[in-house]
Symmetry: C2
Subunit: 160 residues, 2 copies
Amino acid sequence: KDLVVCGVAHDMNVLKVNLYGIPDQPGVADLIFSSLANEKINLDMIIQSGRGTPGEKQNLSFTTGKDDAWKVKSVMNAVVKELGAEGFDTRDDVAKISLVGAGMITRPGVAANMFHVLADNNINIHMISTSEIKISCIVDADRIKDAAIALHTAFGLDRD
Amino acid sequence: KDLVVCGVAHDMNVLKVNLYGIPDQPGVADLIFSSLANEKINLDMIIQSGRGTPGEKQNLSFTTGKDDAWKVKSVMNAVVKELGAEGFDTRDDVAKISLVGAGMITRPGVAANMFHVLADNNINIHMISTSEIKISCIVDADRIKDAAIALHTAFGLDRD
Ligand SMILES: C[C@@H](O)[C@H](N)C(=O)O
Ligand SMILES: C[C@@H](O)[C@H](N)C(=O)O
């Protein structure tokens, strides 16, 4: 597959929510996201990695816009009680930086290159999510400009 | 945005790798994925959620094809040593089920519906990753058929 890295996108309107110590059994993700859907909260990314040893506690993260922060926190308080989860935290001083292009993730070097550019600029990665056309990282909001400029240069996107 | 759920896809060729207790500082993701790229290992999903409290240890997961299992394990052994990470585990008895359609993730109810269908069928979700056009879950391989049939029915995709 030919690789076409066609651009760098960023999104400043990011609220990162981490839910941790949740039971790892069927019905948990359903309860969390139905509760959010009932409040008509628009989601951007949903990410669950975790060690997945059955029976262990899991962590799960998602991102929404900042405007919903108050609603999201009240939903999370209810969900943590209902699930007997350890807790949740939110951060709104973060932003999303994405490398966009066809056939992104299957080429082993592309993701590594992106992470290398961020490392070279001493930018810590808080979350990672990939799709066929995009690799997205959540980083500190005050570093998003550095990240965008560095990625443009590294992937030769500065050319007119 | 009009929602068009156009299909259910599944992938049986999945090796799930979880790396845990890794340092949460710039350069770590670079080292992990450069090491994999050097071995020309094709990736499918990369997922890092985690609590992201600076300085804490992080977990990070990715999926590849099953053929690379031996190579992946030897790369992970080296990476764990180099990072002083707690360890890694792999599972190959899993598979990926995806709901595919335009405008998926922004509609709050779609993800919740998908998780609800899996919960109703007592299917545990090990990993979650979303993009604009797809919501993907890693589940036990022996439940993939049940998941695909249930999702087809629930989202009205059975119609000819
Ligand atoms: C943690 C959560 O994803 C759980 N495993 C579920 O299936 O709902
Ligand atoms: C854990 C890993 O993503 C680390 N935060 C990094 O930036 O490389």
